[in-house]
């Protein structure tokens, strides 16, 4: 069975529970309320704590309350009997004979004195209890002040933490913005890089094409030059041979075409 919190000690019904040793309708009703409160949740108090409180209540219902009134009445009667016994013992030892009315009055007086003593004791107890309550109140005040100071210091630290949290949030926000801007810039630069790479590839292709065409041109020029050299050397030989034949002696070659690539053999020869 689970129980929930229920402030029994402040409940006047608790003090009125019967003392006959049986569970009355009222007790059953109270217990029913107690059980009902459990069903409506245990947010207000931990389950184990409400369980302890309910069990203590149930324990007192079973063990204390049924007998408390009986035993108190029994004690009072015992005290009264004792008083009467003392009184009659005193009177039996007395030499004077008193009328029953006087004896009755004296007995009442004795009882009254006993009640007065008890009340005086009660007043003393209440006074000391009052002093204790005052001391407790002072203690509670000191506790309140202590907790107030603790709460203030905690509030201060909470404020400092709050402001530092705000600073951090602001820094985070600005850094996020900066990051977003940098990411956008990085995107643009990336696109430019891709375009540049494409252009480089295109230029390389063009350059390779140019180089190929140039090589062809050079090869063609070289072959033309070779042919030209061959012809000029053949012409020169032919001319030299023709001149020797006319003069009857060999003749030196004196002319070189201007566009002919220079060779070692040719440059060392005199013009």
């Amino acid at each position: 069975m689970q129980y929930n919190c229920f402030n029994w000690s402040n409940d006047p019904n608790r003090r009125r529970i019967n003392t006959l040793g049986t569970e009355t309708k009222q007790q059953k009703h109270l217990f029913h309320i107690l059980q009902k409160t459990i069903l409506f949740g245990t947010q207000a108090m931990e389950r184990w704590k409400s369980h302890v409180r309910a069990e203590l209540f149930q324990r007192d219902c079973q063990q204390k309350e049924p007998f408390s009134g009986l035993i108190k009445s029994y004690s009072r009667l015992l005290e009264k009997c004792e008083l009467h016994e003392c009184f009659w013992d005193e009177k039996q030892g007395s030499r004077f004979v008193e009328s029953p009315e006087t004896l009755q009055l004296q007995l009442l007086l004795k009882e009254g004195e006993q009640v007065r003593e008890k009340l005086a004791q009660r007043v003393t107890d209440l006074m000391s209890s009052l002093y204790l309550k005052e001391a407790e109140l002072q203690y509670c005040h000191s506790q309140v002040s202590r907790y107030h100071k603790e709460a203030l210091s905690l509030a201060r630290s909470a404020g400092a933490l709050q402001s530092s949290l705000l600073d951090c949030e602001f820094a985070l926000e600005s850094q996020s913005k900066e990051l977003a801007a940098l990411q956008a810039e990085q995107g643009a630069r990336g696109a430019e890089l891709t375009a540049a790479r494409r252009e480089v590839e295109h230029l390389l292709e063009r350059w390779m094409e140019e180089k190929r065409e140039e090589a062809e041109r050079v090869n063609e020029h070289n072959s033309t030059q070779e042919r030209w050299h061959r012809f000029t050397s053949q012409l020169a030989k032919h001319c030299r041979r023709g001149g020797q034949q006319q003069r009857g002696e060999p003749e030196q070659l004196t002319w070189t075409p201007p566009d002919t690539p220079a060779t070692c053999e040719e440059t060392t020869e005199p013009l």
């Binding site: 302890v52 149930q58 007192d60 204390k64 009986l70």
Partner: protein, 274 residues
């Protein structure tokens, strides 16, 4: 917090209706009537039975009067255990009122301590408080108290004054907030099934990782058999006549369900079918 104070009140004002009957072997001048009393659970038998003694002294011859002692179903009752512990341990599942036999002779020297006066009870009570504080605060709180403060604790118990007692006892229940509890929990586990009087070891209120230890944790370490297994409850774990839930933190139990001697007295008895 106000609710917790109610728990302290309920613990303090717990009562057991008791019927004292004179042992039949005692020689009396006339028939001895039984004597009924509401015994405070937190007090000691010899501290609250002056009236019982007075009642039976009337019928016993003066020459037969020796030290009074009590017995329940053949077991001599140790006056130095709190009354509630004696009841929970020996008679928790019996009909009320609790029937105790009063003896005035054949004192069982092997089982009981002598209690010639209330000063012996006071000495025992104060030594228990000091032992408990040694466990909770290295004895610092009780040592800082003055003699009158010690007297206030004792007088509070002797005269059954809740406010007087707790005005001083609350100092013994304080601890630094940052520590989260006492150094060690002063507890004693009683069992009827063993010759060992009780189990008492060092036990911290918090685990090394800062979690609150519960009654279940305590029992698991000290008396594993007391934990129900497979929904079978072999033992009842009783404190002040109730069975707290096993998830109850021991620190809270120590603060609220300790006896005035500042020890948490836990009774483990075999479970009954009903």
């Amino acid at each position: 917090m106000a609710d917790d104070k109610d728990v302290l009140r309920d613990v303090w004002f717990g009562r057991i209706p008791t019927c004292f009957t004179l042992n039949q072997d005692e020689i009396t001048e006339r028939e001895a009537e039984p004597f009924y009393l509401l015994l405070p659970r937190v007090s000691y038998l010899t501290l609250v039975t002056d009236k019982v003694k007075k009642h039976f002294h009337k019928v016993i011859r003066q020459e037969d009067l020796e030290e009074m002692w009590f017995e329940y179903e053949g077991t001599p009752l140790k006056w130095h255990y709190p009354i509630g512990v004696l009841f929970d341990l020996h008679a928790s599942n019996t009909a009320l009122p609790w029937s105790i036999i009063v003896h005035f002779k054949n004192f069982p020297e092997q089982d009981l301590l002598h209690c010639p006066s209330n000063s012996v009870i006071e000495a025992h009570f104060m030594s228990s408080i000091k032992e408990a504080d040694a466990l909770k605060h290295k004895g610092q709180v009780v040592n800082e108290m003055q003699r009158k403060d010690h007297k206030q604790l004792w007088m509070g118990l002797q005269n059954d004054k809740f406010d007087q007692f707790w005005a001083m006892n609350r100092k013994l229940m304080e601890y630094p907030t940052e520590e989260g509890g006492f150094r060690y929990i002063p507890f004693r586990i009683y069992q009827t099934m063993s010759d060992r009087p009780f189990i008492q070891k060092l036990f911290r209120p918090l685990s090394p990782d800062g979690h609150a230890h519960t009654l279940g944790d305590l029992l698991k370490e000290m008396f594993p058999a007391a934990i129900p297994q497979d929904d079978e409850q072999k033992y009842q774990v009783i404190i002040h006549g109730i069975e707290p839930m096993l998830e109850t933190p021991v620190q809270w139990l120590s603060e609220h369900l300790s006896h005035p001697d500042n020890f948490l007295h836990i009774c483990v008895i075999p479970a009954t079918n009903d």
